[in-house]
Subunit: 194 residues, 4 copies
DNA sequence: CATGAATGAGGATTCATTCAT
DNA sequence: GATGAATGAATCCTCATTCAT
């Protein structure tokens, strides 16, 4: 195995190639040969950086989930008002899911994952929910949302609506993603149906 | 192959066994032998009813999607007010996803599916969105929701929130599903965050 | 198993159906279901008359070889002169091989056959050669062929030429079989090339 | 797949091993594992060189048929007189069929072959017949055979007699092949029975 | 007697992984 | 370090055979 020092660069390259291949073919459909070819290296070289297909998958999963969590955190932190925060999340969500949607779905077959990665995954999800809950808590303090709002359910509503919107746009709607009216989505979440 | 007349019963039995096995192991992890054993029959018998593992999967997918669509339709139709309709959907959603969640996730790897099944799947999704949009339209007429509400986005919000809630309860929350406060969820959707 | 008394008729029916199917698909390609369907009976019924696919094949082989041997014997016996005898053989050969050629080829994979059937087959071949050798012997006595002719080689020449002619006509030549000039073939055999 | 440059050697090795196994067990009886073992390689390696059992079979068939055709051409070309040419053919035929007889028989189940290979096979047969016809034509010019001889039938007679002789020696006669009196066979063909 | 639904042994094929170069 | 030819374990599927009806 290669000393950890110089590994970083190529490791990331392989992971990015693998994300594309896993997304296109699913876990079992993704042959190591495809991944190597996509990364522009030999089949054997992948094994210098990852000890098995499965561990490569798990590394990617962790990596992606962390990327997602961090991006979301930043989206929230960068917004001034709660509305702006959610707006940022909507934009980031669309962008991220557009690139990783398939991978996310593969990842959801949580049943096939190891305990270790499963915990990581669930933990990350929980952390994301916490981010939102804290955001709501802050919004309550600033009086931007009603004070009797259940924070868990609010988080649910935001996450669910944003995700569902992405799904519909990506799977059902042929239009490009750049003309999305994020403001309108956020409006529905904030104002509700009534 | 067995005449279509008498096939129905055993076909359904196999499909139900297969849903369990697919859910537990994923598509590629689900060996035909497991499925046969789960259905209490011999391996070869599965092939009397489905011409391949893949087509078995597709049949199940169609079947599940249709079951879901029909259940949702009924949930909406059985409610008097819009609030009650959404409440019904929430209950049905929780119940259905609890039994099929894993399968639904496997199914979402839409990329690996045939054109035919993919169209069926997308079509069913579209129909479901239509159900909700029509519900919103009716609600507008009755003045239960504001008249400037975008129907598509409203559907997004309802579907997304209900689904996300289920996911959180099923994956992250160890509590049983029967003490869910569906009313609270619906409240958030209807009143929004503010 | 069915009492041998009334078996004869249906047994022959099955064998004839099986010859057609074996000829069309080869031994391993011929499914018992095809054979049953071709004979217009149920799959299980075939097993009432033959204890296995393999033994069915062997029975057919014996049957066909015997049919061929008998037909050839008759062809020889029915001719007055040697030339006429060979002429009859040529006609019978063409007719028989046209119906059984593929089966004959399948049968030639002697290696896969049991010792028993192999001996029967080889014995029948030997008997056929004997028929021809006796014919030649008779012809020598009548002065129709030269007296220094090797009987074995003469048989070889007759059998080989007639068979090869059939093969060419059946495999390479699209013309129907009824306008064959058997006299010309026999001439070549009798007069030689010179 | 391995680059075509360096494939040649091992490909031929596998084909030769496969000829032995196909000859011994027939097409369906020949397990890929046997073939691999016979070639002294792993099962998977065969698939690096041939995409399926069937295509391996077809490649062998083409290869064998071409080998046969070329050997026969040379036999004819190397003879001075027509008699010598046929003599050469008889020797080559015996030698080749002794090594390939079983495979040739398997190959004759032309019905199961693909259109492509079938055409190749039939074409090769036709070419062989042409070789003989041209030989006869030349013999006519040199006055070695009578001028009214039908070339097609003459070819038939030569091919058939030589093949039939081989069959008899290989299948029915326990004697070794080296004491064959090829001259006697050729005599019968050239002088005829009379 | 006849049937055909059910069975499971058997074999072609795939692909993650190894290791000699 | 990098490679890709070789490997064989693992699995889908076929079909001869059985046996309950």
């Amino acid at each position: 195995m290669i000393p950890t020092a110089s590994r970083g660069g190529k490791q990331i390259e392989i992971m990015n190639a693998a994300i594309r291949v896993f997304s296109k073919h699913g876990f079992d459909g993704a042959k190591m040969e495809y991944i190597a070819k996509e990364a522009g290296i030999g089949k054997g070289t992948v094994y210098e950086y990852f000890k098995s297909k499965y561990s490569l998958f798990e590394e990617i999963l962790k990596y992606s989930v962390d990327q997602y969590r961090l991006g979301l955190k930043q989206s929230i932190d960068n917004g001034q008002t709660t509305e702006e925060k959610i707006l940022n999340c909507s934009r980031f969500n669309t962008q991220f899911l557009n690139n990783h949607m398939d991978f996310v779905h593969i990842a959801m077959q949580v049943k096939i994952l190891s305990e270790d990665i499963r915990h990581h995954h669930i933990a990350a999800q929980s952390v994301i929910i916490e981010y939102y809950k804290e955001m709501i808590k802050g919004a309550k303090d600033k009086g931007e949302v009603r004070s009797d709002l259940d924070e868990e359910l609010a988080a649910c509503c935001i996450i669910g609506t944003l995700d569902q919107f992405c799904k519909q746009r990506i799977f059902l709607d042929p239009r490009p993603l750049d003309d999305i009216d994020h403001q309108a989505i956020v409006d529905v979440v904030i104002r509700g149906l009534r």
